[in-house]
C-alpha cells in the first residue's frame, strides 16, 4: 500500500458521512460499508495477512472518497487492500481465473471481434451462459455488450483526417473500440464539426479492470504502455479527450493514486486529459464551441456515473444539453447503477449489483424515454439491461443536435462499411 493512501486514514474523524452515501452496503450485509473497510479496517491490516475478505464486496465506485470532508482516501485504501488480498490468494481458483478473464477487455475484444456473430450468439445463448455461470462464474443474466464485429481503430486508420488548425487526441478505450465504434465515430464527427483535427493513436486497455480486480502489477503494465503512446502528444501540449469516464479517471488520477505509478509519461498525460464533455464545455466557455444545434425534442434521463465524480468536474453534459433547443433532461439523483465495471458480471455479486441499480432503473423506466444518457459504457449496458431503455453517450445527443446524423448513423455505418470494402 502506498503510505500516502494509508496515512490518509489518520484524517478520519468517524463522522460517518461516507456511510450515508453507500450504495452497496445498503443492499447487502456482505459489504460492511466504506468507513468500516476503509479507515477502520486498515488499522487491522498488515502485509500478507488479510483478515477481511468482505473488502472484495467494495465496488470501487469511489463515492466515499468524493464525499469525505476530511480527505480520507477511502476507496483507494479499499482498492489497495483488495489487491493485497488477491495477491495472497494466488492465481489459482475459479474466482481468480474469472477475474483475470473479465479484467482484460482488450484481449476479449481481440478474440471476439473476428468471430463476432458466433460470439454474440454464444453470449445470448441461455445454455452457454448457464455453463459460463457455473464454470467460469460470470452471472448468466449479467449484461454483456455485443461485439461490433469491427474495431474503431480500424475505422480510425481509414478515416480521412481534416486539415485544421486545432488538434486534439482521442483516447477511446476498449468499449468504443470493440463494442461501440459508432460512438467513437460520432465523437470524432462532433470534434471535427468544431474545427478539430482528431488524432487517434494506437491504444490498448488502460488497466482499470485489472486494478479493480486487484491485479496491480498487470494493471501497471497496461497503464505504462498506454501512456507511452499518449505522452508524446501530451508533451506537445495537445489535449487528450476521453469518452469513457472511468478509463479517463484511471489516467487522470487512479493510476497514480491507487496503483502508485510515478511515471513521467503518466504525469504529463494526466495533466492533458479531459473528459470529452468537460472539454467541450471549456470550449464553450471560451466561445469556441459551435452552437448551431437543431431542436432535439426529446426528454432524456441523464445519469452521471460514479467515476465521473472522481473527475471533480461536476456534470458538464448538463450544461451542454442546455444549449440544445427542446432537449429536456431529467437529472437522475441515484448515485450508482450497480455495475461498477466488472463487479456486476460476477455470479456472487450480480444480485447486489442489480439491487443497487434498481432505484435508478425505476426512475428511468418511469420517465418512459426514447433514450437515456450516461458517460460510461458499462453503466449504459447495465442501464439497458436493468431498465430496458437504450442508453447513449451524451455526445450522441450533441451529434444528433448538430445534424450530423443525416443520413442516420446506421446508414452511415453501412455506407462506411461499403466504402471500406470498395477500398479493399
Amino acid at each position: 500500500m502506498t503510505e500516502a493512501v494509508r496515512d490518509s486514514l489518520d484524517r478520519c474523524v468517524k463522522c460517518t458521512i461516507c456511510e450515508s452515501f453507500r450504495p452497496f452496503s445498503k443492499v447487502t450485509p456482505l459489504f460492511p460499508g466504506p468507513k468500516y473497510v476503509g479507515p477502520q479496517a486498515e488499522r487491522y491490516r498488515d502485509a500478507g495477512m488479510s483478515a477481511d475478505h468482505s473488502v472484495d464486496y467494495c465496488s470501487g465506485c469511489g463515492i466515499c472518497t468524493q464525499v469525505c470532508p476530511q480527505g480520507v482516501k477511502i476507496a483507494e485504501i479499499n482498492s489497495q487492500a483488495r489487491a493485497a488480498m488477491w495477491e495472497e490468494q494466488g492465481q489459482i481458483g475459479q474466482v481468480q481465473l474469472r477475474n483475470q478473464l473479465i479484467a482484460r477487455p482488450s484481449v476479449i475484444g481481440k478474440l471476439g471481434t473476428p468471430v463476432a456473430p458466433l460470439a454474440n450468439w454464444a453470449l445470448g445463448n441461455r445454455t452457454l451462459r448457464g455453463l459460463a455461470h457455473n464454470l467460469i462464474g460470470i452471472h448468466r443474466d449479467a449484461a454483456m455488450p455485443k461485439f461490433a464485429g469491427r474495431t474503431f481503430q480500424r475505422w480510425a486508420r481509414r478515416h480521412a483526417r481534416r486539415a485544421a488548425d486545432k488538434t486534439v487526441v482521442y483516447f477511446h478505450g476498449c468499449g468504443t473500440n470493440y463494442y461501440e465504434p459508432a460512438a467513437g465515430e460520432m465523437l470524432v464527427a462532433v470534434l471535427e464539426h468544431n474545427g478539430f483535427n482528431v488524432i487517434i493513436p494506437p491504444q490498448d486497455c488502460c488497466g482499470l479492470p485489472l486494478q479493480s480486480n486487484g491485479r496491480f502489477p498487470a494493471a501497471r503494465g497496461y497503464v505504462r504502455r498506454l501512456v507511452a503512446n499518449l505522452a508524446p502528444y501530451a508533451r506537445e501540449g495537445i489535449p487528450i479527450v476521453a469518452n469513457s469516464t472511468s478509463c479517463g479517471l484511471m489516467l487522470k488520477r487512479e493510476a497514480h493514486e491507487i496503483l502508485g505509478i510515478e511515471d513521467e509519461d503518466l504525469q504529463v498525460v494526466s495533466k492533458q486529459l479531459f473528459d470529452v464533455c468537460e472539454f467541450l464545455l471549456f470550449l464553450h466557455e471560451k466561445g469556441e464551441l459551435r452552437t448551431d444545434f437543431q431542436p432535439l425534442p426529446l426528454e432524456v434521463p441523464y445519469h452521471a456515473p460514479c467515476q465521473q465524480r472522481g473527475h471533480g468536474i461536476g456534470k458538464p453534459a448538463l450544461d451542454l444539453f442546455a444549449l440544445v433547443p427542446e432537449l429536456r433532461v431529467i437529472e437522475l439523483n441515484i448515485d450508482c447503477c450497480g455495475i461498477a465495471g466488472t463487479y456486476g458480471l460476477k455470479k456472487e455479486k450480480y444480485d447486489i449489483s442489480m439491487a443497487v441499480g434498481e432505484p435508478l432503473f425505476r426512475q428511468i423506466r418511469e420517465a418512459k424515454p426514447e433514450v437515456a444518457a450516461c458517460g460510461s459504457e458499462t453503466c449504459r449496458w447495465q442501464i439497458e439491461h436493468g431498465s430496458g431503455i437504450h442508453a447513449v453517450h451524451p455526445i450522441e445527443l450533441l451529434y444528433r443536435a448538430y445534424g450530423l446524423d443525416s443520413p442516420s448513423p446506421a446508414l452511415r455505418e453501412r455506407v462506411g462499411e461499403r466504402v471500406e470494402k470498395e477500398r479493399l
Binding site: E3, D7, D10, V13, K14, Q40, Y44, D46, A51, D52
Partner: protein
Amino acid sequence: MSSLQTDVLVIGGGSTGSGVARDAAMRGFSTLLVERRDLADGTTGRFHGLLHSGGRYAVKDPPAAIECIKENLILRKVAPDCIEDTGGVFVVTPWDDPAFGDRFLAGCKNTGVPVHEVSVGDTLRREPRLHPGIKRAFTVPDAAIDPWKLVWSNVRSAQEHGARMLTYHRVLSLDVDGGKVMGAVLQDVRSGDEVRVRAEVVVNAAGAWAGQIASMAGCEVQILPGKGVMIAMNHRLVQTVLNRCKLPGDGDIIVPIRTTCVIGTTDVHVTDPDTSEITKHEVDFMLDEGEKLVPGFRQARALHAWAGVRPLFQETRAKDIETRDVTRSHALLDHKKRDGVGGFVTITGGKTTTYRFMAEVAVDAVCEQLGVQRPCSTAKERLPGSERGATYQLGARLGAREPLPQSEEIICECELVTRSHLDAAIARRETDSIDDIRRLLRIGMGPCQGGFCIYRATALLHADRHLDYATANHSLLDFLEERWKGLHPILYGDQLRQTRLDDWIFQGLFDVRHLPR
C-alpha cells in the same frame, strides 16, 4: 468489619501480583489478590507493550538481558494469545554511533539473545516508513504483549485454582505481631467498608508502591519511581518493534501493539509514584526522537499519551541517581532474612516480560517461609485463552466479523467491540466504570477516543445494570475525563480535529456539562 482467612495475601494487581496469585494458587495455597484500583491500572497497564527479547539490555545490563530472553521464550509458549509476534529490529540511525553495532552484536551473543544482522535494503522493504539513512540493522525476537490480557489470563487461571480477588480495595495497614506480619486491614474504596485479612504470608507486589506497603510493616524498601511518558499513534506506522541501536535512552523505541504503535519513553525520577503529569517538553522530545526513526512522525496522528511509573529498586540510598542506570532485574526481598519480619516478602523491580519468573521466585520464598516444598509449574502450563498455542494476529477482530460483518451492532467502531461483547463484559466485570470495561475490551481506545462509543456504552450499562440516571451520568463523565487526560497533552493535528468533533458531540449535542449527577 468482615474478615477473611488465606494462606497467601498478594498485594498489587499488576502483572507481578497476578502472576504471584496464579503461581501460589497453582501450588495449592489458598490465595487472595488485593488491588487498590482495577487490575493492571498501575504500571502494567501503562507501558508500551514490549515483550523484551533482551536486546535492549544486551550491552548495558547483561543479567537483565539473560532473564528477558529466557522469559520471552517461555511466555511465547504459555501465553501466546497475549503476544503478537511482530519481531524486532535494532537500527543504527544517522544519529547513532555505527561502532555500537558491534558491541550490540557481541552483547546479544554473550547473553543468548538471538540476533541476526540483516541488510538495510531488506529492512527498508519490510518497514518502508523507517528512516532511509539507517546504516545497519539487526533482528531480534522482540514482540508485543497485551498487558490487560496477560493480567486477566493470570487472574482467571488463579481463580480456576481457587484464588479470590478484591479489586478497589486498598491496604490500610499490615498487622504485625511478634516480628511477623499476620495479615492486613483492607478498605473497599467505593463503599468504605473494611475487611480484616489473616494470612500466613503477605506478598508485597505493589510495584512502584511497594515502598509504601513495606513501611506498614516497618521495613524500609527504597523504590526510585521513574516516570516514563508514552504516546500511542493512530495507526501502525511500523509493523516491527523498532529500536535505536545505542545505549537505551529516551524515545528510542516504537512498539506496534494492536491497532496502534507506541513510542516510548522518557525517564524522569519522581518522588510520588502516583505522578502522571505529562509536560509539553516531554511530548516534543518524543516526537523529535520519533522523527529519527520514522520521518514524518510529527505529521502522523497521535492518539493518546500517558505516563507510567517504573518500580526501580535501589538497595542503597543514593541522591540524584539516573534511574535508567539502575538494574532492570527484579528484586526479591525476604523480610525475615533482611529485616527480621516474618511472613512478608517483597517482589519488585523487573518488568512485565519477567513477571512470571518474579512470581516464581516470590512463591519459592513463600514456600521457604512456610517450610514446604511445592514445585512451580507456570513455565509449562498455558494460560487460559492460550490453549491453542497460536499467537495473536493483528487482524483477529476484523476476521472474527467475517463473513457477515453487518450481522451485529458494533458499539466501539474503532476497536470493533460488538454489543454482545459489551453485554458480556458488563455482566462479567460487575462494574459501573466504563474504564474497567475498557481494560477488558479496549473500548474507547481507538481514533475517536470514545467520541462515538461512550454514549452507546453508557446506554447499555444503564440498561444492563439498571442504573439510576445519576450513576449512569457519572460513568459517562468519568470516562470522558479519563480519556481527556490522555488527549490534552497531544492536542495538535488530526487528533485536535477529532477532539473538537467529540467536544461538539458531548458539549454541544449532549450538554454533558449540565448532566444531573
